[in-house]
Every structure is written in structure tokens, then in C-alpha cells.
């Protein structure tokens, strides 16, 4: 047990393998299942079925639109807020951390049920899918806030913005020229996580009766097992691709610390 040095590497690799298996086994199962076109026969039949479906396309586009809207609203609301909390209200930070975690600890079903109750009288609002974007901004708060918070914590925000200020910059200029370029990867992280949440959120959309992508997956999942597995893999590949893209963009910028790239 004493030779930390030598055993360290072995341990790490052990855990890496365990972790990878833990993740890859279900994926492999899904993949195998989705390729089964009959007993002992495999093919891309179920994938074909999905891509041909107009419901697939419309629900996917709806979810994508909602995701982009959510990202936009989140960033516009949060970037100045987090900046200000860091610079001027460090004492309020624990309070903010507490507030933003609230949406997370309210089970989505509870939130959905509550919202349904709340908005039932205002039928016209309930009928606009954009309503979901506002709900998702709240839902994504724990992730988007934290990503930005971590990004701004990783740079010495106080000193940097005081340096900019002493050189004559207003806070908006500081934010634009100094802060944002140095938290790019955490902006990306926040955006991507928000996107992932919106692309995966089922309960609220389903209860509010919108045909988003997750609702479509769920519908397929309940009715058609094989296409469902294919669909799950497709959605996995999509998110995985976006994730990798973000990872590469984050690392490509050698100037900021790698740590920032993955924090949120």
C-alpha cells in the first residue's frame, strides 16, 4: 500500500477501464439491439425507418429551436449577473448558488405539474412552444450559472477587471474585451449543457403537450422497441458529436487553462 508512486498509475487505469465499461456496456447493448432486424440478422433497417419519419424531423427541429432560444435567453440573463456577483457582490454568491440550485432540486415532474396548474387559465400561452424556452432557462440554471461561475472564478476576475478599469474601461467594455474572451470555453460549456438539457427534457414537454424530440423518443420507445434503440443511439451520437466539438474548440485555445475548458 505504501508505494503510492508505482501503484498510482495502475489504479488510475483500473478505474478508467471500470468507468469506460460502465458506460460502454449499455451503449453496446443498445447498438446491438438497434441493429437486430430479426433473429440473428442485423442491418440498418430501423435507422432507415426513423430518418424517413416526418415526426422525427419536426420534433427534432422543434427541440433544436427551443434549445437555441434557451441558450440565448440564458446567456443574456446570466453573463452580466455572474460578472456582477463576482465583482461587486461576492457576499451574495452563496445565496445565488443556493437560488440557482433550486430548480434542480424540485423534481421536474413537480415543476411541470406546478406549471400546468399555474398556466392552465392562460391557454394561449400554454399553446406557444416558446413557453418551454422560459421554463428551460430555469431548469438549466444550475448548469449554466455554474459553468459561467467556474469560468469567471478560474481567471483572476477582480484583478483583471480592476486593471481594465484603471486603464479607463467601463464595465461593459471590460466584459466584452477582457472577460468574455477569457471565459469562452465556459460560455461554450454553459451553452452546450443547456442544449443537452433541452434536447433531453421529457417530463415537462410531455405534460405541457408539446411534441419535442424527447417526447417523440419516448413515444417510439413505448411503442416500438427496435426503432427506439436506434433512435437512442442517434440522439447519443448527436450529443456526443456536439460535445466533442466543444471539447476540441475548448482545447484549441491554448491561452486559457485547460481546466476552464471543461468546467461549468
Amino acid at each position: 500500500m505504501g508505494t503510492m508512486k508505482l501503484k498510482g498509475r495502475g489504479w488510475g487505469i483500473f478505474w478508467l477501464v471500470v468507468g469506460a465499461l460502465y458506460l460502454l456496456v449499455p451503449l453496446y447493448g443498445m447498438a446491438q439491439f438497434s441493429l437486430e432486424t430479426g433473429p440473428h440478422s442485423y442491418g440498418f433497417h430501423w435507422y432507415q425507418t426513423i430518418f424517413d419519419s416526418s415526426q422525427f424531423r419536426s420534433s427534432f427541429l422543434l427541440s433544436l429551436r427551443l434549445a437555441l432560444e434557451t441558450v440565448a435567453i440564458s446567456l443574456v440573463l446570466l453573463v452580466p449577473t455572474v460578472f456582477w456577483v463576482h465583482l461587486r457582490l461576492p457576499r451574495l454568491r452563496p445565496l445565488f448558488e443556493f437560488l440557482v440550485i433550486l430548480p434542480f432540486v424540485v423534481p421536474p415532474v413537480a415543476l411541470a405539474v406546478g406549471l400546468v396548474g399555474l398556466f392552465r387559465p392562460v391557454t394561449w400561452l400554454v399553446s406557444t412552444p416558446e413557453l418551454l424556452a422560459f421554463v428551460y432557462v430555469i431548469l438549466a440554471l444550475p448548469f449554466s450559472y455554474r459553468s459561467l461561475d467556474a469560468g469567471m472564478r478560474a481567471i483572476d476576475l477582480r484583478t483583471l477587471s480592476q486593471a481594465a478599469e484603471s486603464l479607463g474601461a467601463r464595465w461593459t467594455t471590460t466584459l466584452r474585451l477582457v472577460v468574455l474572451p477569457n471565459v469562452r470555453s465556459s460560455l461554450l460549456g454553459a451553452s452546450f449543457l443547456t442544449l443537452a438539457i433541452v434536447m433531453g427534457e421529457f417530463t415537462i414537454a410531455s405534460l405541457l403537450l408539446f411534441n419535442t424530440f424527447p417526447v417523440y423518443i419516448e413515444y417510439i420507445g413505448e411503442t416500438k422497441a427496435y426503432p427506439a434503440a436506434a433512435l437512442a443511439l442517434i440522439s447519443f451520437v448527436l450529443t456526443w458529436g456536439a460535445m466533442l466539438g466543444m471539447f476540441i474548440v475548448g482545447r484549441g485555445r491554448g491561452r486559457t487553462h485547460t481546466e476552464v475548458a471543461m468546467t461549468r
Partner: protein, 402 residues
């Protein structure tokens, strides 16, 4: 008229009184250092001048204009920070250009100016490097160039060298002084290192507990400390308990230790604190024991500390121990155990009344730095100052870097 004036400035952070009625005038082109231990308020004073903190009471005047309510970004103060503060997304040149870009200068003009300033700080070749490609010393040079680029009214330096290696520190401080002199820019420099303050400044203000204990030329501060705190914080000092004899000589523990000391307003018979710099103590080897005569008395070498050009020697004497600095070549002959005669150069003796603790200290007395070679207590620090300083449970930067 003075360039910059602080008038009776006070500032609290929660329970901590960082500044207590600080007043200060800085002449145009002057290099003034604020020197003191951590927690003395020196950084708070600088941040108030920069506009990052606002005084609870008091005024800040620059060229007679009241800037107290003007925000930092409209004050035109060039600031160099303790921690590396270059914008990581910009090259050295872009960093230096930043202030001019804010001022909407033409691109060609600001680039020319940035290159000129980088040349001034000795970094002509590194204009296109990013901060993470520069050493600590180089980063602070760029920060200096960046602060100078806006042609600030006053240049503010907040312990700019404290993160650097000892050797680099000395080089860079000489250079800061050279640049400041050549530009003639009014400069305020915050440091906890007395040698740094003495070597670089036109005047030094020694701060303790939010007040100025003494302000003056480095040589005055060193030679004529007005309070015990200054005497012991600036340089090494022997502190002896003594008495003024009727004939004007000084007596310590029954021995006459100095004749012809400038007594000032200390009356014969008065109990005084006798302050003697180590370099004012003269030692001669003494082969035979001998009674004290005149102002000579006997001692025995106890320990040596080699400091380079000089060697610091601890000498045990009848009334305790004194520390003397000798040229290292001379100290070689005086190995520990040697019996010596001790003479104190009267021109190097300074007397203070007992209880003199400076104009700024309250009844609780000064937080004195220990004298050279004294016991382990008496560090001029208060707990929590550099550790995880928390105020009200929350880590607050400003309170931590008073």
C-alpha cells in the same frame, strides 16, 4: 501645490479599521513608498487612490481637484498589481495598447506607443508573446508599460515585486526607479520590504494600524526614527533600556555606554529607550579582561551570521546582548567566544522616551516588530492576515489584502 493629496481618510472593513484619518501629500514627480507590515492599511490607501475602494470619511485631491467621487475608470491612475494582471487573451503589445484603445487612438499611433513603451521596459523583442509565454518579471514589466501607456496622472504600484525571485526583484526595482526618474511621473509604491522602500523612494511613509508613523526621506527614516515602531520595522535595531546620567552620558545596566549623544529634550535622570544601529557598534579584540572605562565596555562574541559584505555578530554584554555589523573581513578574526571591547558610536545613538509609541497608536501600544535577533514573539502580523482571511464567513479579497 502638491500633485496628490489625501485628507483625513478613514476606511473600515467590518470590524477592521484599515485607515484611521490618513493624510498625505505627494509632490509632482515624487516617488513615495508606503511601507508597513501586512494589515497596516497601505494597500487600502493605494486602492482608495486608484478608486477601487471608497473612503468612509475623507477626500482625495489630484492637482487640487476632488476625485473622491470619481469612478476608477475616469481617474487616469496607472496601476501595477501584485499578482500578474495581464489580460491573458492579448499579447504583450495588445495589453500595452489597451488603455489607448479605450481612448480610441488610431491604431498606428497606439501600436507605435506600445512598442516604444515595451522598449522602455526592456522588452522590445517580446511584443507578440502572450502573458503565459513570459516570465514573472517580464509580465510585471509589461504591466508597468501598460500602466504608463495612458500617461497617467499618478503611477500606483502595489507590491509589484513580491511574487518574483530575490535577484529579479532587485533588478526590477532599480529599473522601476530609472524609468520613473526619466519620465518624472508621480509614483506611489506599496511594499512591506524596508530595503525596497529605502532604496527606491524619494520619501517613505511608514504605516502602522492605519496611521502614518513617520514620513520622510529614506535616510531620515533610517537614521532618525521618531517612534519605536519605525525604529524596529526599518532595518535592524538594538533596543536597550537606559538612563541619561547627570553628565549627559547614557547608562545601561549600570554601565556607561555612550558619551556625547545628542540628548534632544531628554533630561538628565530620565529613563530612556536607547536605539543603536548594528553598524554603530564598534568591536575590538580584548586579550585580557578589563574594567569598563569611559564609554568602552566588555563583551563576548556569541554568534556570527554571514550576510555577504557584512557579518552580523551577536555580543553578550553585562546588560544583555547587542548585535553589531562588521565588515566580513574583520569579523573573521572575532570568532565566537572571543572577548571584545564594545564601543557605541554616539552619533549613531538615538533616544526615545519610554512609552513613545508614535502619534498614531492608541492606548494598546504599537504592534512592534521584534528587534534583530530577539525572541520568537512579536511578529508584526495579526492572525489570519495572509491565511484564509474570512470576514463574516465569506472570503473577501479586499479585506484580505489590506
Amino acid at each position: 501645490m502638491s500633485k496628490l493629496e489625501l485628507v483625513e481618510i478613514s476606511k473600515r472593513f467590518g470590524a477592521v479599521e484599515a485607515l484611521r484619518g490618513l493624510s498625505l501629500e505627494v509632490a509632482s514627480g515624487e516617488f513615495l513608498s508606503l511601507l508597513g507590515p501586512s494589515g497596516c492599511g497601505k494597500t487600502t490607501a493605494l486602492r482608495i487612490i486608484a478608486g477601487f475602494e471608497h473612503p468612509d470619511v475623507g477626500k482625495l485631491l489630484v492637482d487640487g481637484r476632488d476625485l473622491t467621487a470619481i469612478p476608477a475608470n475616469r481617474r487616469s491612475m496607472g496601476m501595477v498589481f501584485q499578482s500578474y494582471s495581464l489580460f491573458p487573451n492579448m499579447t504583450a503589445r495588445e495589453n500595452v495598447e489597451f488603455g489607448l484603445r479605450i481612448r480610441r487612438r488610431a491604431r498606428a499611433e497606439r501600436t507605435a506607443r506600445a512598442l516604444e513603451l515595451l522598449d522602455l521596459v526592456g522588452l522590445a523583442g517580446t511584443a507578440n508573446r502572450y502573458p503565459h509565454q513570459l516570465s514573472g518579471g517580464q509580465q510585471q514589466r509589461v504591466a508597468l508599460a501598460r500602466a504608463l501607456a495612458i500617461e497617467p496622472e499618478v503611477l500606483l504600484l502595489d507590491e509589484p515585486l513580491s511574487a518574483l525571485d530575490a535577484k529579479v526583484r532587485v533588478q526590477l526595482r532599480e529599473e522601476i526607479r530609472r524609468i520613473q526618474t526619466s519620465l518624472g511621473i508621480t509614483t506611489i509604491y506599496v511594499t512591506h520590504d524596508q530595503e525596497e522602500a529605502l532604496s527606491i523612494s524619494d520619501r517613505v511613509a511608514v504605516l502602522s494600524l492605519g496611521c502614518i508613523e513617520q514620513i520622510g526621506a529614506p535616510s531620515d527614516i533610517y537614521r532618525e526614527p521618531r517612534t519605536r515602531f519605525v525604529a524596529e520595522f526599518v532595518g535592524t535595531m538594538n533596543r536597550l533600556d537606559g538612563k541619561v546620567n547627570p553628565d549627559g552620558s547614557i547608562e545601561c545596566g549600570g554601565l556607561c555606554v555612550a558619551h556625547g549623544v545628542a540628548l534632544g529634550d531628554h533630561a538628565p535622570g530620565e529613563q530612556v529607550i536607547v536605539l543603536v544601529r548594528p553598524e554603530s557598534i564598534v568591536l575590538e579584540e580584548l586579550p585580557e579582561p578589563q574594567a569598563a572605562s569611559g564609554d568602552l565596555f566588555e563583551g563576548r562574541i556569541v554568534a556570527h551570521t554571514f550576510l555577504g559584505a557584512v557579518t552580523r555578530v551577536t555580543v553578550s554584554v553585562a546588560f544583555g546582548a547587542v548585535t553589531a555589523d562588521l565588515p566580513s573581513s574583520r569579523a573573521l578574526g572575532l570568532s565566537p567566544g572571543t572577548r571584545v571591547s564594545v564601543r557605541i558610536d554616539p552619533s549613531g545613538v538615538r533616544l526615545l522616551s519610554i512609552g513613545t509609541s508614535g502619534p498614531g497608536s492608541d492606548g494598546s501600544g504599537p504592534t512592534g516588530g521584534g528587534s534583530g535577533g530577539s525572541g520568537p514573539t512579536g511578529e508584526a502580523e495579526s492572525p489570519g492576515e495572509e491565511g484564509s482571511a474570512t470576514a463574516g464567513g465569506l472570503p473577501t479579497r479586499s479585506a484580505a489584502s489590506l
